[in-house]
C-alpha cells in the first residue's frame, strides 16, 4: 500500500542523508521525498511517499523514530489528510495545439507561467493522481519537460503535528 509519512526533524546538516541512507540501506522504496525548514528554523518537515506491506511500513516508522535527529514521525495515511504536489510542465504549443493546451490547463486549474512562440510552461498543483491525469490527457508528443516536487502532506482538521 502507498503511505505518506511526515517527519519533523532537527534542521541539522546530514539529517536528510540519514533518512535517505536508511531507506536505501534497508531496501525500502521512496516514491518521493520533500523537505524544507518549518516556521521554527531549528526544525525541518519532511514528507516521504513510500510503498510497502503493513509489516514493512511498521518497520519504516520504527526505524525512522530510531534516528536520533528525528523528533516526530506520523503516518498520514492512518487518518484523513490532504496531499498536494506541484508540477511544472513545458509543452510544445504551436498552431492549433496552442488553444487546446490552454483549454486543458484551464480545465485542470493550471496556470501558464511562461510563454514563448513555440512553448507554454504550465504550473499545476494537486494530488499526484491529478497531475498524472493531466499528463495523460494531453498529447504525449507535446510534452517537452516535466518537473514535480513530490507530495507534501498535512492532516485534516484538528490533526496537528507539532512539538
Amino acid at each position: 500500500m502507498r503511505h505518506i509519512i511526515s517527519l519533523l526533524m532537527e534542521n541539522e546538516s546530514g539529517a536528510l542523508s540519514r533518512v535517505s541512507g536508511l531507506f536505501s540501506a534497508r531496501g525500502y522504496n521512496i516514491e518521493s521525498l520533500t523537505v524544507a525548514p518549518t516556521e521554527d528554523a531549528t526544525l525541518s518537515r519532511m514528507t516521504i511517499v513510500t510503498r510497502g506491506s503493513d509489516d514493512v511500513i511498521e518497520q519504516i516508522t520504527k526505524q525512522l523514530n530510531k534516528l536520533i535527529d528525528i523528533v516526530k514521525v506520523q503516518d498520514l495515511t492512518d487518518g484523513s489528510h490532504i496531499e498536494r504536489e506541484l508540477m511544472l510542465v513545458k509543452v510544445r504549443a504551436s498552431g492549433e495545439m496552442r488553444e487546446e493546451l490552454k483549454r486543458m490547463a484551464d480545465i485542470f486549474r493550471g496556470h501558464i507561467l511562461d510563454v514563448s512562440d513555440k512553448t507554454y510552461t504550465i504550473e499545476l498543483t494537486g494530488p499526484g493522481t491529478k497531475l498524472d491525469a493531466f499528463l495523460a490527457a494531453i498529447d504525449p508528443a507535446a510534452i517537452l519537460e516535466t518537473v514535480r516536487t513530490g507530495a507534501s502532506g498535512i492532516g485534516r482538521g484538528d490533526r496537528i503535528m507539532k512539538i
Binding site: 532537527e10 546538516s13 546530514g14 542523508s17 523514530n65 530510531k66 536520533i68 523528533v71
Partner: protein, 569 residues
Amino acid sequence: MADMELTGAEIVVRCLRDEGVRHIFGYPGGAVLNIYDEIYKQKDFQHILVRHEQAAVHAADAYARCTGQVGVALVTSGPGATNAVTGIATAYMDSIPMVVITGQVPTAAIGQDAFQEVDTVGITRPCVKHNFLVKDVKELASTIKKAFYIAATGRPGPVVVDVPKDVTQHKCAYAYPKSVTMRSYNPTSKGHAGQIKKAAQMLLEAKRPILYTGGGVVLGNAAEQVTELARLLGYPVTNTLMGLGGYPSPDPLFLGMLGMHGTIEANMAMQHCDVLLAVGARFDDRVVGNPKHFAKEAHRIIHIDVDPSSISKRVRVDVPIVGEVGQVLDEIIKLIKAGKEKPDQQALKAWWAQIELWRSQDCLKYDRSAPVIKPQFVVEKLYEVTGGDAYVTSDVGQHQMWAAQYYKFAKPRRWINSGGLGTMGFGLPAAMGVQKAHPDAVVACITGEGSIQMNIQELSTCKEFNLPLKIILLNNGYLGMVRQWQEFFYEERYAESYMTSLPDFVKLAEAYGHVGMTIEKPEDVEPALREAFGKYKDRLVFLNFLTDPRENVFPMIPAGKGLSEMILV
C-alpha cells in the same frame, strides 16, 4: 575558574576525565596531534597504544562489554578512521556502548580532498547509533556529553565524534554539562503496565513454556531477574550466542544455546513451546532460521525489548513490551509473586519429560578416545582449569561455536565475542580490553589460526602493557567454518579454505617476547593449560593446540531451514 578558556584539545581531555573515563585505546596521527599532546600532559586516564586502529576499537568495545561502561577509542583522520570502521560496525551489530573520537582535517579543508581526508560521518553513518561532526569548539563539550549519553542509553551503540584539527586549537570557556535533554531522543525505559500484566498472565497459563534470552539481558544487567523468574516458575531457559552467561549454564533449567549451532533440546523446545518469552533477543536469522518454519505450533510470543524496531521485525509477536529488561522483569516477578496462581504443574511435568527426552540424545557428545586433540576437549579442559570463572573472548569460526557450547558460562559479561558482524580478528584486541578493565582477572582468547592472524600485531601491544592473556589457538589448519560449509554444501570442494605456510606460532610468540607452546597430544592438553595458568600466570602464553582438522560443529541447521531440521553428529 569555569570561564577560563581552553583549547579544543584540552576540552576533549577534560571531557573524558569528567566523564570518569579510566582507559582509552588509540593511535595517533596528524589530525589528533593536539589531542595527543594534551593526553601526554595528564594523568587522569591511561592511553593504550595499539598497533592498528581496528584493534583500538575492538579493545574499547570489549572493555564496554565486560564492564558495562562506555568504551572509548581515539584515532586520526583518513586511514585512522577507515581502519576503525570494522570495529565500529562490530560494536554496532552487537549494540555495544562506545564513543569513538576521530580526527578530521581542518574545517576549511573539508571537501577539498585534503591530505588524509575522508567523509567519516558519511562512511560511518550506517554503522553507528549516531555521529557528529563538531564544527565549532563551543559545541565540543556538549557534543561529547551527548555522545556518551546516546551511546549508553536505550539500545546502546557506538557514537562517532569527528573533530577537525582547527577545532582542537580554537579556544572557549569549558563547562561539562551535567545532564542532557534532547527533544528528539527519549528512549522508553518503563514497560507498559497493561502489557506486563498480560505477559504475567500468559506465562502462568503456559503448558509448554520457554524463556529465550539474549544479549539485551547482559547489556541491561538483568541476569539476576531472568534467573529469579525462571526458578520461580520452574521454566526452561535458552540463551542466544550473545545472551550466554545471562543464565547460569550449569543449572538444570538451562537448555544450552539455541539456533544454528544450538542444542537439540533448546531448538526443539523453541519449536514446540506454547508460550515463548523473548527477552532482549532479536529473532536473528541464525536463531530462528526461516521464520516461515518457525511458528509451526502457533505459539504465543511475549517480547521484551528496549528497541521497538526489534519487535515484530522477523517474527510477529502477541505481547510486545517496550522497555528496559530489568524493570519489566521486576514487574512481572512482582505480579507473579503477589498472585495466587501457579503454573499447571502437571503440564509442566510432561513438558520437562519431553525436554529430557530431547536432552538425552546428548547432542554435544564427541569422540573422546580419538588419538588427535579434539577442539571440544580443549575448551572443556579450559573450563576445568579456570574453574569456569575466566573471561573468554573469541574470534569467529568453528572455535567460536565450540567455545560457546563447551565453556559453561555462569555469569554475564564473561563471554565476549562478535555475534552480529562475525568479525575475525576481534578476539585478541578484545582480550586486551578485558584485561585492562580487569587487571587481575583470568582472560583467555579462544581463536583459530585464520582469525588470530587478522590482528596478530597486537602481541606487541600486549608486551608493552604486560597483559598476561592466554591465547588458546585451536589450530585445525583450515578456515574451519568455511571448510565445514564446503564439505556439507559444496561437495567437498575446498576452495581457498586451507592455509599453507602458517607461521611457527611458538617462535612468533617468542619473537614478541611471550611464551609459546605447541600441544599435539590429547594427554598434554591439561598439563599445558595448567602450566600456562599456573607457572606462567603473569605472562602472555600462546598455546598452539594442533586439533583434528576434520572436526565439525554439531548440531547444525543449514541456513534458511527450520529449527527442527538439524544435522547431527
